[in-house]
């Protein structure tokens, strides 16, 4: 019954989204047939396009998992974008500082530092919330601006590649590249890491006492206090884990794709991750599926732009519509507190 209703709702959403997309395509006077085929070819048309979707989904999954841990604990982390940048910076710093290390040491170290970088960056708003009650929604957004601009400064100064005129870091050592798992595409080990992370987050949140505490704090902080669960400690933990996973997303982008630090390393992954967490209902499995869907939407719409001239920003409009639809769905009318 519940399942059928959910299915019906999903069908309705799909229909509405298609209608909006069609309206947009017609509004820019493009050929709908061409646009549709361009979209489908881009997202699913070939081996390569599918691999591109997976590449795109990787950071979304990681950051989305991070966001979901925060949400479930009552830490509304809007700062995944900045945490991705910080994680990327930390990973790059490892490569620049220890270029001589063997891959087996360097790569895990870089990922770990990426996690730590994002985690520490996010733990600051976490601390400010748990200690002084500052709203994390505000502080994490502000931290995004700081992080992005810090990276801008770094790639123009201490981390700049002196042999190159553009603001970017030198190439990172070969030993730091995440192995490609599907030649000749760009699909790298990051996807596997993301899927393992999804499993780990599921295990943490639903099987361990630590996850139970975080969920309790998210659902009822006052009741948690009475039960002897520390609200500040769990907020801090959740903020660190949340930012850590976003930082890992940044590190994975550096070691898997770019192999150097540059501005614009994330085209808003941190914000899209919030949508992925929302659509995936904060459940790891749901987040993986939502991330894949969003990635397909984005990759497909880029190809649609090339094929039919429909601007790829249509994907953002569609995502906006999606979020509104999901939020508009009232839970159960019968679910009144009694």
């Amino acid at each position: 019954m519940r399942f059928l209703r959910t299915l019906g709702f999903a069908a309705l959403v799909l229909l509405l989204v298609l209608a909006v997309a069609a309206a947009l395509v017609i509004a820019v006077r493009a050929d709908p047939g061409k646009a549709a085929s361009g979209f489908l070819r881009g997202a699913f048309g070939s081996f390569y396009s599918i691999s591109e979707v997976l590449v795109r989904a990787t950071p979304l999954i990681l950051a989305g998992l991070g966001v979901s841990i925060g949400f479930r604990t009552g830490f509304f982390n809007i700062g995944a974008e900045g945490q991705i940048y910080l994680g990327a910076t930390a990973a790059t710093a490892v490569g620049l500082l220890f270029p001589g290390l063997p891959a087996l040491v360097l790569l895990p170290l870089a990922l770990l530092c990426g996690f730590a970088g994002g985690g520490l960056w996010s733990a600051v708003p976490g601390f400010l919330k748990s200690r002084f009650g500052l709203s994390e929604v505000i502080t994490t957004i502000m931290f995004n601006y700081i992080a992005i601009n810090v990276v801008g400064i770094l790639v123009r100064s201490v981390m700049k590649d002196p042999s190159y005129p553009l603001p970017m870091s030198p190439d990172l050592p070969e030993a730091m590249h995440l192995p490609v798992i599907l030649e000749p595409t760009r699909l790298h080990l990051g996807l596997v890491i993301a899927l393992v992370a999804a499993l780990a987050v599921w295990f943490l949140m639903s099987r361990t006492a630590a996850g139970f505490r975080m969920r309790a704090v998210g659902l009822n902080p006052r009741g948690s206090l009475v039960a002897g669960i520390s609200v500040p400690a769990n907020l801090l933990l959740a903020s660190a884990l949340s930012g850590g996973l976003a930082g890992l997303a940044g590190a994975s982008e550096i070691t898997g794709i770019h192999h150097r630090l540059l501005e614009g390393i994330s085209p808003g992954f941190g914000y899209v991750a919030i949508i992925a967490a929302l659509l995936g209902r904060n459940h790891p499995g749901g987040i993986v599926i939502a991330s894949l869907g969003i990635a397909a939407l984005q990759v497909g719409s880029s190809s649609m732009q090339r094929a039919s001239g429909v601007p790829s920003s249509i994907s953002w409009i569609i995502m906006g519509v999606l979020v509104l639809l999901i939020l508009a769905r009232r839970p159960d009318r019968d679910r009144v507190a009694r």
């Binding site: 006492a209 669960i229 009694r338």
Partner: protein, 519 residues
């Protein structure tokens, strides 16, 4: 009734996920009638009233209100039609003031910038007329449950409801306040208002109701005139058996191993003081509870009970004074460590303090067992053990539920309370702080809880029972004291010599200063 009923509900049916909560109930209320609705926890009383008030839509059945068919209505329409409801669990906005809550959603004169001072005067007038003591400017968050109750009732009176639905309104009131409330209701009745009263207290029903409807397992078993009813008859209708005589002490205090445990008090408070916030603090509160003793704290809710309970739990830190568990100081220990020292805590506010409503029964059971290696090993939750534990609690405490994986939010109020008690008492605690533990429980369950507390007393627990229900205290406590405006009176032995007049006066604050000086 000769006059056409003001309200007629016919053959109301409502199921939740296939399980009927209302199974064809017919029910009517006349003009100027106080109609009591009785029934065990989970019998379907709240559900029926929620249907009337438009919160739920009935699966089938009809409602006729003052000659017109009501259907597809929501609470907003219900209020506009003159039907008002005070819920079992209050629905106030804690961050707003009392007066803002009372006028919430109303387009008062000057809307949207009403003249707050005028509204406050109106409210004060109304509160004086009905004897409901509220401070319009106070923030609801700073109020105790009892005070919130008063605000809820004020809210209805302010809206001029023709039919007042009160879901367990007296659960948190003292006898004095209860009498006050019923005076209010009698006045309303005189002016043609009708009242539907849900309560678990048979004595109230017999004294104040005109007619009584008894529900059991979602069906109506009887509607009778209060005049001809008896307590024994009603309890038989409700629970299918006669109630044992109201919880009396099973053994006199003297015969208990109280002195055998030595003079080490199980729980001792020495001159606990708490600076008043919003008028509520504690002034040098001292008492001690021996192992095997039930110490009662009486008084009108909102006189520092919550503050005292929270000092004992470790949520608040007293400004001065000493707290000892089993003779050892517990300064600097938080709730978790204190629970490890053998404290069990039953709060008066189950939705905020006692439960996580979005969790299922097993998870809520785990909430009190996080340090118990039977449920958590190496940081991993043993889900099977939790299900088993919750299953045991359900069986032992007769919690009415579909099973340990049901969300606690969906349980009836009394059944939620039973789960908390089962969880807190199952660990064999040395110290029990029970704050209104039987609030909202039906007569059978209340009796059951009282038996459990007496059992813990016999097992040597030190039980602190904070209650505004004098009958409960007289039935259970070995000694009792009165808390008024943050001061605790000297303790009196609860035996034949107890001077009820004096207790009553103390609860009203009279004689408190002299008593405190004398001690």
């Amino acid at each position: 009734m000769v006059v056409p009923a003001m309200l007629a509900m016919r053959d109301i049916r409502k199921s939740f996920a296939g399980v009927p909560a209302n199974d064809g109930i017919s029910f009517d209320v006349g003009e100027g009638e106080i109609h009591a609705l009785l029934g065990e926890n989970g019998a379907g009383k709240t559900t029926l009233m929620n249907i009337l008030y438009g919160i739920y839509a009935a699966d089938s059945g009809s409602i006729v209100w003052r000659g017109e068919v009501l259907g597809g209505h929501g609470p907003k329409e219900a209020i506009a039609q003159g039907i008002g409801m005070v819920h079992q669990h209050f629905m106030l906005v804690p961050t707003l003031s009392v007066s803002e809550n009372i006028t919430l959603g109303l387009k008062s004169r000057g809307h949207p910038f009403p003249d707050r001072r005028r509204l406050d005067t109106d409210i004060l007038e109304l509160s004086a007329r009905y004897g409901l003591d509220v401070d319009p400017a106070a923030k609801v968050a700073s109020l105790s449950v009892g005070e919130r109750q008063r605000v809820e009732i004020m809210k209805l009176l302010y809206r001029d409801a023709r039919l007042l639905i009160l879901d367990e309104p007296t659960a948190v009131l003292t006898p004095g306040e209860t009498d006050g409330l019923f005076r209010v209701l009698a006045t309303c009745k005189g002016q043609g208002h009708s009242v539907i009263l849900i309560t678990h207290r048979i004595s109230e029903v017999l004294a104040f109701a005109d007619r009584i409807t008894v529900l059991r397992d979602g069906a109506r078993v009887a509607t009778l005139e209060a005049a001809g009813a008896t307590a024994a008859g009603l309890s038989t209708l409700m629970i299918g058996r006669e109630l044992k005589s109201p919880a009396r002490r099973t053994a006199p205090a003297a015969s208990l191993p109280r002195s055998a445990a030595g003079d080490r008090a199980g729980l001792e408070a020495r001159a606990i003081s708490l600076r008043p916030v919003a008028g509520k603090g504690l002034q040098s509160v001292s008492f001690s509870v021996a192992p095997g003793e039930i110490f009662g704290i009486a008084g009108v809710d909102g006189n520092g009970q919550k503050e005292l309970a929270e000092c004992l739990l470790g949520l608040r830190i007293p400004d001065s004074g000493k707290l000892l568990f089993g003779g050892l100081p517990v300064e600097g220990l938080g709730p978790r460590q204190r629970k490890r020292r053998g404290l069990a805590y039953v709060s008066d506010d189950r939705h905020h303090d006692g439960l996580v409503l979005g969790f299922d029964l097993a998870e809520n059971y785990l909430l009190g067992k996080l340090d118990d290696p039977r449920f958590v090993r190496f940081g991993l939750v043993d889900r099977k053990a939790c299900l088993r534990g919750a299953g045991g609690a359900i069986a032992d405490y007769h919690v009415k539920t579909r099973g340990p994986t049901e969300e606690v939010r969906l349980l009836s109020g009394g059944n939620q309370q039973k789960l908390i008690l089962a969880r807190e008492l199952s660990s064999g605690p040395a110290i029990i702080v029970a704050f209104q533990p039987a609030r909202g429980l039906d007569i059978g369950a209340t009796e059951f809880v009282h038996e459990r507390l007496l059992e813990r007393r016999a097992a040597g627990s030190s039980v602190l029972l904070i209650s505004s229900d004098m009958d409960e205290l007289l039935g259970l406590a070995d000694r009792l004291a009165v808390l008024h405006r943050g001061r605790l009176s000297p303790a009196y032995d609860n035996d034949g010599s107890l001077d009820m007049m004096r207790i009553g006066l103390l609860m009203g604050g009279q004689g408190m200063a002299e008593e405190a000086c004398a001690s």
